[in-house]
Point group: C2
Chain length 226, copies 2
C-alpha cells in the first residue's frame, strides 16, 4: 500500500509549522490554509507558502481557501477591526477576545471535505490544549466529539480520523520538537497584530516567546520590541 | 424573557421551507442561506428570498453566504459540472452522486457561528432521514454527534442546540405539515437541474412530487414534464 495521505491545517503559526513537520515524516501531506478575515491574513498566507515550500509540498497539494462567513459576522477581535487585540497575560479562566466563534469546526470541516475528495484518511491539526485552555474548540473533548461527527457524517469507507499531535504539549516542548524535526520555524508567523515584525506583546507573541524561553532558544523571527 | 432566537438553514427547498414555517411559530427566526457552488445556486437564492419575504423576516435577519471550498474541490454532481445529475429512482443502499462531501457540517458550523454572535440558542435544519438515507450527514446519529461538538466547541453559556423537526417524517407528511402551517410552498424550489421550470425527473423532483402525491395534493410550482 502506498503512503497514506493527510490533510494538514496550516495557519502559518508556530504550532501548525511543527504539526506539518511531524506529519511529513508519516504521510503524504496536503496543506490547507484558511483566510477567515483575520487581521494578519496576508502575512499568514506568506508564512503558509514559505512553510509549504520548505517542506517541499508541490503547489497541487496546497489549497488556500476563504471562509467568508466568519469575516461577515465578526464576533472576535481577530475579525472585527473595531475590537482591540488584548495585550499581556492570558487569563486561562475566561475565553479570550481573540476567540473566533466556532472557527475550528469550519477549518476541520474544510479539511474533511477535501480529504473525502482526495482520499486522504488523516487530518492533522496543530491545536494545543494547555496553552489555549480558554478556547473551547482546542480541547481533547472537542476533538473527540468532532471525530464522532466525522465517523457519522462521511461515507462508511472514508476512514478519516483527526489527529492533534501537539494537543498535550507545552509551548517549550513544541519548540524543542520543532527543532528536532527540522521544522522551518523561521518561516512561521504567530503575531495577531504586526505584519513585518511581530509585536511581541499580544497573547500569541507572548505564548510563542515563552515557548522559546522554556526551550532555552532564541526565536528566529524579527520583533518590534527587544 | 423575550422570545428565543433561532437560526434556520434555508436552502429554498420544500423541506427547509416547511422547517422555517415550523420555526417561525416558536422562535424569532434568522435565516441562513449558502451558495456552495451548486448548479442551481441562483434559483435557490431567489427561493430563499421569496420564503424569507413570505415569512416576514426582515433583511437584517437574513444572511446569504458562500462556502468557496465546496465549489473549489468538487466531488459531487451538484458542484462539478462535468458529472451528470442522476435521473430516476433513488437507490437508498448507496450514496447518491449528488452527495456533497461533508456539506451539512459546513452549513451547521455556519449556523452555530452566527448563533454565537446574535445570541441565538436554536439552530433549525430541515433534514429528513428516511427520504435521504443515502446521505450520511442527514441521519439522527450524525445530528446527535454534531450536537456534542456544539456543546464542547462553544462557550459554556451559549446553550445552542440543533433541532431537526422533519427528521423522522416522510415527504407526504412534510407536505401536509407545510399546508397546515401555511408554509409558502409555491415559493420553494427543489430541482437539481432546471431554473425556470423544475425538470420533474431528478432525484429531488421525484421525492418532492412523490410527497405531494402521498398528500393527495398538487405541487404549485411549474414543471417541464406533465
Amino acid at each position: 500500500m502506498s503512503e497514506a495521505r493527510a490533510v494538514v491545517l496550516v495557519s502559518g503559526g508556530l504550532d501548525s509549522c511543527v504539526a506539518a513537520s511531524w506529519a511529513v515524516r508519516r504521510y503524504e501531506i496536503w496543506l490547507l490554509h484558511a483566510d477567515y478575515g483575520q487581521r494578519t491574513a496576508a502575512r499568514e498566507r506568506r508564512a503558509f507558502d514559505a512553510i509549504a515550500a520548505a517542506l517541499a509540498v508541490p503547489p497541487l497539494r496546497r489549497l488556500a481557501i476563504e471562509v467568508p462567513l466568519l469575516r461577515r459576522i465578526g464576533g472576535s477581535s481577530l475579525t472585527d477591526r473595531s475590537r482591540p487585540i488584548e495585550q499581556g497575560e492570558v487569563d486561562a479562566s475566561r475565553i479570550p477576545g481573540t476567540y473566533v466563534p466556532f472557527r475550528n469546526t469550519h477549518l476541520l470541516a474544510s479539511a474533511v471535505s477535501w480529504a473525502e475528495v482526495i482520499a486522504a484518511t488523516r487530518i492533522v491539526i496543530g491545536c494545543v490544549e494547555e496553552d489555549s485552555s480558554g478556547y473551547p474548540d482546542c480541547r481533547a473533548s472537542y476533538l473527540e466529539a468532532f471525530n464522532r461527527v466525522v465517523a457519522e457524517g462521511t461515507p462508511p469507507d472514508s476512514g478519516i480520523v483527526v489527529e492533534a499531535p501537539l494537543l498535550h504539549l507545552r509551548k517549550g516542548a513544541i519548540v524543542r520538537l520543532g527543532i528536532e524535526l527540522g521544522a522551518p520555524l523561521s518561516s512561521s508567523w504567530s503575531c495577531y497584530s504586526g505584519s513585518e515584525r511581530a509585536c511581541g506583546r499580544c497573547e500569541s507573541c507572548r505564548l510563542r516567546l515563552c515557548g522559546f524561553r522554556e526551550a532555552g532558544l532564541e526565536d528566529p523571527i524579527p520583533y518590534e520590541v527587544g
